[in-house]
Amino acid sequence: MREEILNLLEKNSRLTEKEIAAMIGAEEEAVAAEIKAMEKEKIICGYHTMVDWDKMPDEKVTALIELKVSPMRGEGFDRTAERISKFEEVSSVYLLSGSSSDLIVTIEGQTLKEVSHFVAAKIAPMESVLSTATHFVLKKYKDHSVMFEVEDDEDERIQIMP
């Protein structure tokens, strides 16, 4: 049941417990209890909204920073990754396989300058960080399986068909 609930919520977190229960053929109380439990266990870590900020007037900049990091004895990359994660400006941190970079970090800020400054002042000087490569995002096409720029999302089907 957990997987079914998660699949539904991941796509649409506004579904009510009652609706989820109907859709998966379970009792409403049971669904509510599972969701509570998964929130507690941090399987469900939050309920967010997909926003295309490009459509808002305010400027917003996103950058992907590739980091080459020297692993620490006994802790590998965890310590560095966790330290970077603590910064509010950082929205995601992933550890990668492959040799070109170890961590990829997403940073959000108001301006290019602000983001560059943050990288130069906070990330690059960290002892374990060997090198950084900053890529500014020019345009987001798809995120969390959602296409941002769908030109014609209207239902084009003929309304009444046998």
């Binding site: 539904l8 109907a22 859709m23 998966i24 089907r157 309304q159 009444i160 068909m161 046998p162």
Partner: protein, 393 residues
């Protein structure tokens, strides 16, 4: 001027859906639960294969029966899934949608006066296609209390000396009914005993819910030689606009169907055929993803009907529910018209699918949950109003 028209064609009743459609299309603000096609886009890997075939310049006719590669894949797939064996060279024909397959099968088999048994409610093309082919349609009104399955005694009652063909369509449009292997066995026995040919329209075969998967009547004892299976890519792979279907039939029948197809159509669209090869090879996971999504919506609607106290048998196939609206004392047309005028919601009156569909509505759940939620809110408001009207007079 001579009468330019064919009497046979003129006598055919226009589809009941047509006039309702005309009203709906005047109301752009209305929302609809009236479509008969998936709301999913064709999976991209399938589109991509179609595009690639164009890039490679595959823009010529294929053989009349269709690409052998595609026919081979279809026969293999059908055998694996539904335990029916057909020879891709002689017993498989690629058609322009499932509808062409129905028409071809009827035209290939009917002699003037032959009776074709049509259990109703059913898809709207069977009856006119029988008439166009010179046959005599014999309707069997199926019953809500039997969950719109065809019962052996109903079939026996409809048989005469002239009975030749039975059209079976499960999972069913418009009722969503399915027939399991157990349900089909006695029907198959009658078909064998009474020498009937069955045209089995299995276009919704991939969309079944609950524990039982679709069973093809062609897989039952004695049926392989007397079953024409019609299926296609529209519903299973969300490929309605590609217009691609197929018929599997004993060589004797397939040969004559191919003859008509050759003269009338030449061959099914080449681009669609290449896309379909990819669909059948790599599309099973897409079918499953869409099926699960429909199933959730189906349950969502059933729950809502239960709460509204609107009687509706649980359908285990296709993407339709077929609730009964007799309690309101309105005909299906009246109900659907008022629902459209007063709540701006379009559904299809059940009688569009045969007289015995009177008193029912076909509601499609090929819509997002958000759309279904909004639509059900409108239905709730409407039937609450009707119930209040009734209790106050």
């Amino acid at each position: 001027m001579k009468n330019p028209l064919s009497n046979t064609v003129v006598q055919i009743k226009p589809s009941g859906i047509r006039k309702f459609f005309d009203i709906v299309s005047e109301m752009p603000e209305a929302i609809s639960l009236g479509v008969g096609e998936p709301d999913f886009d064709t999976p991209w890997h399938i589109c991509d294969e179609g595009i690639y075939s164009l890039e490679k310049g595959k823009t010529f006719y294929t053989s009349n029966s269709g690409l052998l590669e595609l026919r081979t894949e279809i026969c293999k797939w059908y055998e694996q899934k539904y335990e029916v064996h057909f020879d891709p060279r002689k017993e498989c024909l690629i058609t322009v949608g499932g509808s062409e397959g129905i028409d071809l099968a009827l035209r290939a088999m009917i002699n003037p006066g032959d009776e074709v048994i049509i259990p109703e409610p059913c898809y709207v093309s069977y009856l006119p296609c029988v008439e166009l082919a010179g046959g005599v349609p014999v309707s069997i009104p199926l019953k809500n209390e039997n969950q719109f399955k065809l019962k052996p005694e109903e079939l026996l009652d409809a048989l005469t000396e002239k009975s030749k063909i039975l059209i079976l369509s499960y999972p069913n449009n418009p009722t969503g009914a399915v027939m399991t292997r157990e349900d089909l066995l006695p029907i198959a026995e009658i078909a064998v005993e009474k020498d009937l040919i069955v045209i089995s329209d299995e276009i919704y075969s991939e969309l079944t819910y609950g524990t039982e998967k679709h069973c093809s009547i062609g897989s039952l004892p004695g049926m392989a030689e007397r079953t024409v299976i019609v299926n296609g890519f529209s519903k299973a792979y969300a490929m309605t606009g590609w217009r691609l279907g197929y018929a599997l039939a004993p060589a004797l029948i397939a040969e004559q169907m191919t003859k008509i197809h050759q003269f009338a159509i030449m061959c099914a669209p080449t681009t669609s055929q290449y896309a379909a090869v990819n669909a059948i090879r790599e599309g099973d996971k897409d079918i499953e993803r869409m099926r699960q999504s429909y199933d959730k919506r189906r349950r969502f609607l059933m729950k809502q009907f239960e709460e509204l106290g609107l009687p509706c048998f649980e359908p285990f196939g296709a993407f339709y529910v077929f609730p009964c609206i007799r309690e309101f004392g309105l005909t299906s047309d009246e109900f659907a018209n008022r629902l459209l005028q007063e709540e701006k919601l379009a559904v299809v009156p059940g009688n569009a699918f045969g007289d015995c569909g009177e008193g029912f509505l076909r509601i499609s759940y090929a819509y997002s949950i958000d759309e279904l939620r909004e639509a059900m809110g409108r239905i709730e408001r409407f039937i609450t109003k009707l119930r209040n009207e009734k209790s106050s007079c």
